[in-house]
Amino acid sequence: MKDNINKLRNIGISAHIDAGKTTLTERILFYTKRIHTIHDVKGKDGVGATMDFMELEKERGITITSAATYCKWNQYSINIIDTPGHVDFTIEVERALRVLDGGILVLCAVGGVQSQSITVDQQMSRYHVPCIAFINKCDRNGANPLRVKDQLSHKLGHNAVMLQLPIGLEGHFKGVVDLVSMKAIYFEGDNGEKQKISEIPEDLMSTALEYRETLIDEAAMFSDDLTEAALEDQVTEELLIKGIRNGTLSKKLTPVLLGSAYKNVGVQSLLDAVTQLLPNPSEIQNHAIDYDNNDREILLESSPDKPMVALAFKLEDGPYGQLTYIRVYQGELNKSDVIYNSRTGKKVKVGRVIRMHADQMEDISKITTGSIGALFGIDCASGDTFTSEKVQLSMLSMFVPDPVISLSIKAKDNKSEIQVSKALTRFTKEDPTFKVTSNTETSETLISGMGELHLEVYVERIRREYNADVIVGKPLVAYRETITKRADFNYTHKKQTGGAGQFGRVAGFIEPIEEPFLFTNKIVGGSIPTQYISSCEKGFQYCMDKSPVYEFPITGVHVIINDGASHSVDSSEMAFRAAAIGAFHEGYKRAKPTILEPVMKVVVETPPEFQGAVMSSLNQRRGMIVGSQDQGTYCSIESRVPLAEMFGYSTVLRSSTQGKAQFTMEFDSYKPVPASISEQLKKDLELSKKKSKE
């Protein structure tokens, strides 16, 4: 069993969009004999890559859902999660990283470290995932892996060290020099499946010796045995690998490998590095929160004899019901076991246990400790923890960002309505960043997510997978409101129309604050009896959901109450709640409210000749350009642009740069909208009110 876990690797492949993750995964599956033919992303055969199993993924050439797959290499079991490269799907990347023990950071030999590489690197750091780097596309024009390695050090702060050197570059890229074994490796055969190991070409020898020296120096920092061996000039392959491994596991060293997945060069060496340098599950510390023990953090042991603890990290609804991807951290999960969902406290019986291979599945009898598998027919939400005993353990929750964009969606007919409802229930369970709300006034269903593409993909899935006809509204920006100055309020709620009366007076002031909401009670002398204070707070809190001016949710308000009055008979919790609502409305209008809009950090990567056009396109969208970074073959422009102006930007960018530029967008902050825009919003609001009345 111990041997089993030592030979298990859970790895993820993270990279900038179009760096070649899916192609690389496809080659890994081919060399590990999980597939027998190679299909490329947007390939001429029209089949599409194996990992992109959704129709939409194949069409767009992007990987949307991280498909888990299993393969074997040199007696090692490897679970691979392929992750999307687009920022809109970041939650998928976050979820994958949560359950992984090691990562491959794929970088493009031409593009180098791009904006999305920085995001995925930050995500890897957040979950302390040790990684190795693979510089792909060394066969492309303009490939410069050594420059990319330097960028890895300077831009991402990695202690990057070359493990290989290229033999030729661009069109002449033939193979790699392995600096550990000091051999040249060539990849021959129709699909590069035959590795030919030979002597290092003479012209590369001195450079190889120089880089090996650096490699030994760096690795020696993490192994005393290697330091001693280096001093005595007796460095063995085994010692060197041990030193590199120690450095990699401590996240203080990033070994860099090279290749071209598309041209079938370097993938087998990468697999060797995965087995030799990345950690097995028992080498990673995983914690859970023990709710029975004062929320204490406890360390989980990768032992099959311990009680089972597992995390459901991904849900998918397939033709045979809900499929729950699960990672077992402690103990084992067997078919027919009874397990507990620690969030709901419910007992569940495990039915089928399977191992996924993209869209194909293989039945297994158990998921061993540290491994990843999937269960059928388990009702749960993404992020739920399962345990074998009724213990209150929960794996640490994953970081889930708030959605920034909404879209109204309506089924065209009754049949579609049922399908849409099914689809939305499934998507909200699968993706915590995808939210569904309904507008009671317009009886519209609103879907919210992390970006235009994120929502577009879900709408397309509703159409294709559920065969439902839907009408989609214009994207809506999640505006907020805040106050800009202090304002007093003094409101009396009085009602005497038969029966028991209502009386409550609330006085104080509101002022701007950094936090979303704060309530301070400064009542002295019992002018508002203590039992009614919480009703006042509830009343104020209630007002934050919808402003009395523009009807957007309010943020950044500090409410201070310092006076009031009550009546011995007519005062009640309800009366003070109503008084607080009236008081808030009174104060809010005087506090100079303003609308805030989400501003996005937009990074465009473009060939330098289009820099002017890109800047102009951002400027036209009320964008504020922070700066430009010129890297010779491409340049990246960083800006802050209001989300409301970014709709349809990908089309504009494509046409103004001959399709050569791409952009990433993520939420930055909320900023006040200009007066003209708030006027327009006010008009739109009045118009929509009129329409809904009609």
Partner: protein, 231 residues
């Protein structure tokens, strides 16, 4: 450092920039590696930003986010020292509105590319710099022509350019304490701020072609890395 000597310093620097910008004025912060050239340049840029003047910060060594961090850091120090009394309340918005960062990868910077990028900004009404900061451009034999070209560009745009110039301990010129590599281009510069570490303090020597009635003695506060004048 207190409010009044910051004002004096700010006034001196802004006067130099105002008087010399039409001639394509050049200024240099000269110091050894690690003594605080970037912090001083950012401080100079912030003085202009306080007056809502547009600053183009060109960095040949740091990426955009690192340059932004320098501004955050130096401004926080200034705010702490001045207790926010002399710093405009909307300074963060002003910085975003009036600052543009341009960074260039190793060996990617040349006058033609820079001119092209600059005209991309001005011709499309995106940004008109009133002060340019160039951090990390080496002054050596090969680059003399580049400095001359930049002087022409500065004159053409009526803009003042501040440079960081790295000096070396072993190669101080006998005449002016300037690094010998700077001597061939000294004439191009209208003002220099030279950082001279001494046993117990760090002096800043201001050399200017403009005469001031009262030029304060300047020091670099090693705690804050800000320039301060001695009362």
């Amino acid at each position: 450092m207190n409010e009044s000597n910051t004002n004096t310093l700010q006034k001196i620097l802004n006067t130099i920039i105002e008087k010399k910008k039409d001639d394509g004025g050049f200024g240099a912060v000269i110091a050894r590696a690690g003594v605080g050239k970037t912090a001083l340049l950012v401080q100079i840029a912030l003085y202009s930003l306080f007056e809502k003047k547009s600053v183009l910060h060109v960095s040949l060594k740091e990426p955009i986010n690192k340059v932004c961090l320098w501004y955050d850091e130096v401004l926080t120090r200034i705010e702490r020292v001045l207790k926010q009394s002399n710093v405009p309340s909307d300074i963060w918005d002003t910085i975003l509105m009036h600052r543009m960062i341009m960074t260039f990868g190793e060996n990617q910077f040349n006058t033609n590319t820079f001119r092209e990028r600059l005209f991309d900004l001005t011709e499309q009404d995106i940004f008109y710099p009133q002060l340019i900061i160039v951090d990390g451009l080496m002054v050596d034999k090969e680059n003399i022509a580049m400095f001359e070209e930049l002087k022409k560009l500065a004159k053409e745009l009526s803009v003042f350019i501040w440079f960081s110039i790295r000096s070396h301990r072993h190669e101080v010129s006998q005449i002016s304490h300037f690094p010998p590599s700077l001597i061939p281009v000294t004439d191009l510069f209208d003002v220099t701020l030279q950082v001279i570490p001494k046993a117990d303090k760090i002096d800043i020597e201001l050399t200017s072609q403009i005469h001031f009635e009262c030029t304060p003695d300047l020091l670099l506060n090693p705690e804050t890395m800000l320039i301060q004048s001695v009362n």
